[in-house]
Symmetry: C2
Subunit: 224 residues, 2 copies
Amino acid sequence: MNKRSFKDLLYEQVARVGSAVASPKRLELLEVLAQGGKTVEELAQELSIDIKLASAHLKRLKTANLVTSSRSGKYVVYRLSGSDVAALWVQLRQVAEAHLLELRLALDRLVSDPGQLTPMAREGLLERARLGEIIVIDVRPTPEYEQAHLPYARSMPLSELTRRIAELPRDREIVAYCRGPFCLMADEAIEILKGKGRRARKLRDGVSEWQAAGLPLEFAGITQ
Amino acid sequence: MNKRSFKDLLYEQVARVGSAVASPKRLELLEVLAQGGKTVEELAQELSIDIKLASAHLKRLKTANLVTSSRSGKYVVYRLSGSDVAALWVQLRQVAEAHLLELRLALDRLVSDPGQLTPMAREGLLERARLGEIIVIDVRPTPEYEQAHLPYARSMPLSELTRRIAELPRDREIVAYCRGPFCLMADEAIEILKGKGRRARKLRDGVSEWQAAGLPLEFAGITQ
DNA sequence: TTTATATTCTATTAATCATTAGAATGAGCG
DNA sequence: CGCTCATTCTAATGATTAATAGAATATAAA
């Protein structure tokens, strides 16, 4: 075979993965799926799109072998086909953040709150959480917490926060995280907590970022 | 602003980077540029495409801020705008290799030669090269070697190999590398070397893969 | 000035894509 | 069986894309 057409073949294959991550909706699907398996219905609802459209996007992701699907009763559950896919999403987002001015500006609007924890704070976080100096809460829905969460984090879904706020000690600073920098759940949680007079900060990381940084996660109560 | 439209904005920005890497030609451009700065003419020649088409693709990469350009006399030199862009290319290729059957099959045709060095061999390579047990040659064009190369590697461009083959000791095994797994220069070099009765193997890595693995490189003679 | 390099403009062709919608189909549950 | 979830088919719209080509233009070197 010709050397040129062989090369074309190779790059074309990689471009299939590139095409798969060239759509905003599919990227959002990947991020949500990085939190654990979800049904088509849940995904469509999360993205505020039609089920048929979600199905079409998922099909493209499946064609690129970035996700897998399996049937569970009436539902079809989609999952990332590997942790490297989550790592790809994180890397892609980091490059975009580093090189796209518009994205930085949009994110700055989020980070304008100086109470946010920067990625620098990662190292000390574990130790302070272990010592109980801070309370780390995971504000994602319970199934996502059960799939994987940060060490020493307790589950406190955003939807239950207002009701269960008394469970959180008044004298400790609270650090909230969710799915990652693009997820707004932790921001909402901070707002609620501060509204009740608590000291609260956001951790920018989600489990994907945490894992991509080589830090340990907990699965179903077991640190790994 | 609406929470949904704000999210759409964020993912859209990342998708701009995704779109930039959704084309085979642009991916090849990124890989070549990962070896160092190149002029538009060189790039067009390398990819066997029209200068105008190369210019158009480079413009898209520039819009996504993945490359930068600067004028040098009559020429315009393009460069990657950061090492994270090279890392993105490596990650993208790794995901594609892991998840796309066709790509694995195509690559297997290359690796069918059992004399190839697997990525596993990375660790021992440096030590063996340091001790002089093996001779590591960089078969890329000289400017790329000068930009950055593996420690203990000597420059031996493919175009000069046949003429300069006598410089290589007969009693030592030779390990050749080029731009990475998709680059065929090292394969050609192995063929030439074996044709002359030398023991020769290919290292799958290029400088991007080496760097992405956290291993040291040499720049203009200085190990870093 | 001429020449070489690189980009831009214009235009065309052909292809792919996202989105929405209606209707039909399958798969499993009760 | 009826019901729900998910996919498929069809179709239409509008947008974007890659590739190619001719002509014009800007930049800088000789």
